[in-house]
């Protein structure tokens, strides 16, 4: 998964929804960890379409 810094509001919707707990966010950084299994829930839950699959 990749995140668009231009779109992201850092709201944490993806972090709390991730069933794998694979997303880490501090004040302004959003990172995907190895536990990610590409379930795509973060893409769906993101209110501002900031997350997409890696090309």
């Amino acid at each position: 998964m990749k995140v668009s810094a231009e779109r992201c509001h850092h709201c944490g919707a993806c972090v709390g929804s991730c069933p794998q707990n694979a997303i880490f966010m501090n004040d302004f950084i959003l990172e995907f960890g190895e536990a990610c299994n590409n379930c795509r829930r973060c893409i769906k839950v993101c209110p501002v379409a900031a997350i997409s699959e890696e090309d």
């Binding site: 709201c11 944490g12 919707a13 972090v15 709390g16 004040d27 839950v45 209110p47």
Partner: protein, 397 residues
């Protein structure tokens, strides 16, 4: 590495964290509260509507500084807009009351915690738990870019919807897709509306959730909506729902945004466990949000008070195991567990209803004369008019 020692480290300085910190410190605990953001209360992730009745019960003094608007009541509006349930202040239910400024409200609660003796560290993000002899013994964190160890006898996870603390400790806080509402909101100005009422609009305007107008001033309101995750078909659709509604509603269509807020809320059943030896969760992190209203502040403040008082006892007993912390589980469950179950079951039913059924429901309930209006009395009115809708959980109503 820098090491800080304390009795209790609270992760997150929202209402749940500050209330825990305040009540624990008042009881003599040495408390450090950390907040990953550089400012408490900002950025906002909230509709900011609260009821009034509970504030004095948790020791919060109303301060005009954080009251943006005192409303006269609320309207629950049917999908067509033709019917509504009017909740008037005169009916003393107090389910609604204030629209607050979270930027000031959260700071006021943090100030109360500080006055009670808690220390606050901003720009400090917890990164993992510290274990010592198999026991939780604090958190590792990054504070202003520098690693720090905060050693504590108890860790409090007050880290909100995106809570990590509970998951690090092995507490299952994971959510089903049908228990997640994704939200978008504008603080919208230049609107022409009734600023004396909060409004909740049901139906396909916000599938599986609702749309809201929470007044901030005569021509500015928090205008937003939340959609059930399973009803979304493409990325970013919740913002499209909001933009479409605003464009269509004559009151809102000339509105201009002052602030955009995104976020998610849990609308799940209460968790089986929110405390273990040396660690407990409070507020949104403990999934205490009301599954019907999406409101979390009152429950957060109650839980924070319960947790803080029990932590003060733990300090005195020098025992942070479940032997002492069980009282926190008992207290918050006694206050809110049945209500959360009832409202979760009601939500499970509500999300299945078509616009036509919701229309009938709102029309029917609007004709019932309610003495006091709360989620509970509204469900009782539904039970009276459409008993089949609440059959599966009628015992709880």
């Amino acid at each position: 590495m820098r090491t800080i020692k304390c009795d209790v480290v609270v992760v997150g300085a929202g209402p749940a964290g500050s209330m825990t910190a305040k009540w624990a410190a008042l009881g003599g605990a040495d408390v450090v509260m950390i907040e990953k953001r550089p400012e408490i209360g900002s950025p906002i992730r909230c509709g900011e509507g609260i009821s009034r009745s509970w504030l004095d019960r948790v020791g919060i003094k109303v301060d005009p500084k954080w009251v943006a608007r005192t409303v006269k009541g609320a309207k629950i509006v049917s999908p067509s807009g033709n019917h509504f349930v009017m909740i008037d202040e005169s009916k003393a239910g107090n389910e609604v009351g204030f629209v607050v400024d979270r930027v000031f409200f959260d700071k006021a609660l943090a100030r109360d915690a500080a006055e009670a003796g808690a220390k606050i560290m901003l720009k400090t993000a917890a990164t993992s738990l510290i274990y010592e002899d198999g026991r939780i013994a604090g958190v590792k964190a990054v504070s202003h870019g520098e690693p720090v160890e905060i050693r504590a006898s108890c860790v409090v996870g007050a880290d909100g919807f995106e809570s990590q603390v509970g998951r690090w400790a092995g507490i299952d806080t994971s959510l089903k897709p049908t228990d997640i509402i994704t939200c978008y909101q504008y603080r919208l100005t230049n609107i022409d509306y009734d600023p004396d009422y909060t409004e909740f609009l049901l139906g396909s305007v916000a599938p599986g959730g609702y749309a809201w107008i929470f007044p901030k001033d005569d021509n500015t309101a928090n205008v937003g909506l939340g959609v059930l995750l399973t009803r979304l078909k493409k990325p970013g659709e919740v913002k499209e729902y909001l933009d479409r509604w605003i464009a269509r509603d004559p009151r809102l269509k000339n509105g201009q945004p002052l602030e955009a807020v995104s976020g998610a809320v849990s609308v799940c059943a209460p968790l089986d466990s929110v405390a273990i030896d040396n660690l407990l969760l409070v507020g949104d992190a403990a999934r205490m949000i009301n599954p019907i209203t999406g409101g979390g502040i009152a429950n957060s403040c109650y839980a924070g008070m319960f947790a803080g008082k029990v932590l003060a006892k733990a300090v005195k007993a020098n025992d942070f195991s479940m032997k002492v912390l069980q009282e926190y589980e008992d207290d918050w469950r006694a206050k809110m567990e049945n209500g959360l179950w009832r409202d979760w079951m009601a939500k499970e039913k509500l999300i299945t209803l078509s616009d036509d059924t919701l229309e009938m429901l709102v029309e029917a309930v609007s004709k019932v004369d309610l003495e006091k209006i709360t989620v509970h009395t509204l469900l009782a009115a539904v039970k009276e008019t459409y008993p089949e809708l609440v059959k599966e959980f009628e015992d709880l109503i």
